[in-house]
């Protein structure tokens, strides 16, 4: 309507002035919902830090678009038959951002730094034996070869190496450190170099002109051809989602990598804006405290599960972008199959019957929600409204996010609306919910049988053998109802029409290489 016309006009207008101001440089500005914590990849970090750092550094391997692992700085990876030795052959002619050539020595140096507990690398536990296998040796037999030796086989070794929260185990030039060993600035091999970081306001990245890209035709996840086309990327720190949206509308930013589904639906209607959607690995749903005097009755939990109209709910929550998923395995996972696809069927009569059978007489059930994450809040609100129809009396209690986390951690709640962050392997997803409540109160599903199956799945490396184990777990979970998984999140990028080549993906982090800005300055 009139509003939209005006808005569009405003956007066009400000876009004009914007591009005139920077006629010589192509700058894309991207909204970031918080400042980065440091420039030290994988060490002092959070999601935003990872997102920015993954533009500067690259690891030996990286995730593809479908979350499988592929070589990045390596041209090839060979695994010994016993699974203990990984031999990486480095690509030729890869330059660091200081002009130096990448050698095996640099890889060895970087890994020695990561494996030093003093570095406080985020992912140290994955490689020092506390988690899965331990790296006993990193050798550089020649300038192009690096050999990692493990103490035992570990099917997830490469996947762990590629994790964005480990900063992809990015390879750094030793000059990234000052003479005294303290952190200076990242010198990586990525398509962008670190520009100006104005704390609390923005981080600027500049195109690395001598970037040595892979030979593939296009980018593929965090690997592939990562040639950059814009001169600068400016991450604007906008903690507030409403302001971020307003900024996008007014042309203050070109791209918001993560908007809510509801916003996306509106933004889509604005001329000159486009959205990019991808399913991601987060798991959203309602958690029950199975030790609660009321909710320990599986019939009541089941009644909740049956009284939710999933398709309507997920349609509303994701604005039609996600599908219903009652399984803890994300739809984007290779392990998501027809068994995982089976879920609860919306059935109010059955729900009422179960409640009657359980002797439920309208006792109040408190569900914790928070306003930090609107989708958790909305999920709670919709569940509360829907379960009312079955006669359930759920009352929402809004907590500050930190408080809700504390309650989650100690298990002191009846119900809560919650989201798990993305885990890239099905076993990790199950691991986050299955456990002994006496030892770890945060675990929602305390079932010895399930635990046993999970342990088996963790040891197993052959995907074909793991699949039936996960199916078994899923069926058990549907029966037990320790939680109701509702859907997996979506990463929705919203951007101006002049942004070309940007894609959202399951890892849910922005990638600005391969992105072009159409010329609108005429």
């Amino acid at each position: 309507m009139n509003n939209y016309v005006k808005t569009a006009l405003a956007v066009a207008l400000s876009a004009c002035t914007f591009s005139m101001a920077v006629a010589q440089d192509k700058v894309i500005s991207v909204g970031l919902n918080g400042d980065i914590r440091s420039t030290d990849p994988g060490v002092n970090r959070d999601d935003n830090t990872d997102a920015v750092m993954m533009h500067i550094v690259e690891g030996l391997v990286a995730y593809r678009e479908d979350t499988s692992v592929a070589p990045m700085l390596a041209s090839a990876v060979a695994v010994s038959p016993d699974g203990l030795r990984y031999t990486f052959t480095l690509r030729d002619g890869v330059h660091f951002q200081n002009g130096q050539l990448l050698t095996a020595k640099d890889v060895q140096w970087t890994w020695q730094r990561y494996l030093d507990p003093k570095t406080q690398w985020r992912c140290l536990a994955e490689f020092d034996g506390r988690g899965a296998a331990k790296i006993v040796d990193v050798a550089a037999p020649d300038a192009n070869t690096v050999v990692f030796t493990l103490d035992q086989a570990n099917g997830l070794f490469l996947a762990a190496m590629a994790r964005p929260d480990c900063a992809g185990s990015g390879i750094l030039h030793p000059d990234s450190l000052a003479a005294d060993g303290s952190w200076r600035a990242p010198i990586g091999t990525g398509p962008f170099t670190l520009g100006k970081w104005q704390k609390g306001q923005y981080v600027e990245l500049e195109r690395f002109k001598d970037y040595s890209s892979r030979a593939e035709a296009t980018a593929d996840g965090y690997t592939g051809n990562k040639q950059a086309f814009v001169d600068k990327v400016r991450f604007e720190v906008i903690p507030d989602s409403a302001s971020a949206k307003a900024a996008l509308l007014s042309g203050g930013v070109d791209l918001l990598p993560d908007v809510t589904a509801m916003d996306a639906a509106q933004l889509k209607q604005v001329k000159n804006l486009q959205v990019q959607v991808s399913p991601i690995m987060t798991i959203s749903g309602l958690l029950f405290q199975t030790r609660d005097p009321l909710l320990k009755d599986v019939r009541i939990r089941r009644a909740v599960a049956l009284s939710l109209d999933y398709s309507q709910m997920v349609a509303a929550l994701s604005d039609g972008l996600s599908m219903v998923n009652n399984s803890i395995i994300p739809t984007a996972s290779p392990y998501y199959d027809s068994t995982a696809h089976q879920g609860y069927t919306y059935n109010l009569d059955e729900a009422r019957r179960l409640l009657k059978e359980a002797g439920y007489r309208g006792e109040k059930i408190r569900m914790l929600v928070n306003k930090r994450y609107p989708q958790m809040f909305d999920m709670g609100l919709l569940s509360q409204a829907m379960t009312q129809a079955a006669g359930l009396n759920i009352e929402m209690e809004t907590l500050e996010w930190g408080t809700q986390l504390e309650r989650y951690q100690t298990g002191s709640y009846q119900m809560m609306s919650f989201s798990y962050s993305g885990r890239f392997d099905a076993a990790q997803s199950y691991e986050s919910v299955i456990g002994d409540k006496d030892k770890e109160p945060r675990k929602v599903w305390d079932n010895p049988e399930a635990l046993a199956i999970l342990r088996e799945a963790q040891r197993e490396v052959d995907p074909a053998k793991r699949r039936p184990l996960f199916d078994q777990l899923h069926r058990l979970m549907l029966k037990d109802v320790p939680m109701v998984v509702i859907y997996n999140g979506t990463a929705i990028g919203a951007m101006g029409k002049r942004v070309e080549g940007y894609r959202s993906w399951p890892v849910a982090k922005p990638r600005l290489w391969g992105v072009k800005l159409a010329d609108t300055s005429k």
């Binding site: 406080q120 720190v237 906008i238 307003a246 203050g252 996010w401 930190g402 809700q404 504390e406 989201s419």
Partner: protein, 313 residues
Amino acid sequence: MFRFISHRLGMAVPTLLLISVIVFALIRLIPGDPALLMLGDMADPQSLADMRSSLGLDHSVVTQYLIWIKSVLSGDLGVSISSRQPVLDLLVERFSVSATVVLVAVLLATLLAVPVGLLAAWKQNSAMDLGLVGTATLLLSVPSFWLGLLLLYVFGIQLGWLPVIGYVGFGSDPMKALTYVVLPIVTLTLVEFGAIARMARASTIEVLRLEYIAHARAKGLSEGAVLWKHALRNAFAPTWTLIGLILGNLLGGIAVLETVFTLPGIGRLMVDAIFSRDYPVLQGCLLLITCIYVLVNLLVDLLYPLFDPRVKL
């Protein structure tokens, strides 16, 4: 004078100590700690314990307090838990943003409101008075954040004249910086205008009733001279106190306005620090704000005799 200042600063010391204890206790009463918030749903007991000990949260609260107060006394406010920046740098950076907006807005509001109040009082009960007082009361009644949103909607989104988000320091690009702070300043000016104009009017009415105004008229002074030379100075004294009060409160937090306009100010910093349980930042902020509050009050009292020489320090 010196005695007065030293007395007042002396009185502030226990206040500051008290505040620090209250803050220290209050923030630790909030469930959830920084370690938990940083680890989120990935927090397993081992990493939680590691994180807590690396943040120094494994000591008793009393020990933590003593450690903190000791380092504060040596001039070190610590390091932010969530951003790892030194708290002092953060405070200086963020406070300068809030202070710029608040000071400019209050100054503008005063310059506009005092003459208006004077005029309304002079024409008390006239149509003009009613109009001016009505406007002031209306402005006073509009929530600042709502007004901010409306202005943002009109000038930022509908007209697209001004940027909707962000902030650029005046150091780097003054003109651009101006475009970011215009709306917050206008909002704050309008809201404070109401309060100051009403106060100026009320105190001018009081003053205009006094004999020395009649005396000034009896000397044959024109109405303008009576208002400007005789009424203004005296009527400004209570207004000055109000301005001090406003400054003391605003410098302590325009968190909501900062949220609306995404200004990286001190109010927003505090709110975020509460949400992320960033203990050192919050403690530092409140220390700063209390100091500012004390200093603003001191300044107000020190300048008061300019408007009312009867007041001795």
